[in-house]
């Protein structure tokens, strides 16, 4: 999985931020490459499912369980989405 270009990263963050803020009920949540589940109190197993479902809806893509397992942080998500052609 390659790294998203700076322009792709900017566009994807802009795209996914409303989903993160909605799922975790935090209007001020800053979404960036380093954000991960340990940094968000509301990021539990149930909200994780909702997050993945809504990200698939938003981007029109599907993740595999291996892809999810390899994402250590939002950076991994951004690169995965870029690899699927999101914000290309």
């Amino acid at each position: 999985m390659g790294k998203a270009s700076p322009e792709q990263e900017r566009k994807i963050i802009e795209m996914i931020t409303p989903v993160f803020r909605s799922v975790f009920e935090d209007d001020k949540l800053v979404v960036n490459r380093t954000l991960n589940a340990n940094m968000v109190a509301e990021w539990d197993s149930l909200n994780h499912i909702t997050l993945v479902v809504e990200l698939e809806q938003l981007t029109g893509t599907q993740f595999t369980s291996d892809e999810l397992a390899s994402m250590a942080d939002v950076g991994g998500l951004i690169d995965c989405l870029a690899g699927k052609g999101v914000a290309a």
Partner: protein, 142 residues
Amino acid sequence: MTSDPFAALAPGQTVERDYAFTAERVGAFSDLVNDHAPVHFDADFAGKRGFPGRIVHGFFLSSIFSGMLGEELPGPASVINQTSLKVHSPVAVGQTVRFQVAVTQVTPAVRAVVLKLTASAADGKAILSGTAICSFPPVTEG
């Protein structure tokens, strides 16, 4: 027949159920949740507030989806993660309502399914609409 019910899910699958909101059932629900508000029991009170008569509790209406989700689609191996429902019009005590659940999205990576929830009157008038996200918890041995 598949051993994993999640694997059998696909967008477009639909189930329907008709449910009669009889006075007896409304009374039983009221006792169960301790909601005896007059709009559900006093026709005059309800009529003065613009309703055609006693109306069914909104939560009673939405609870029918619980049985459909748990027993039919996506079925007994699933749990509800999230629901969102909008009430479009009231239901009079005694009215029968048609409920529908339809699969709109399957997300295998987290074993989740998104469902469209709708309820309508006999004349097709919308009563409820919304969505649910259900997931299939992994089975652990022991």
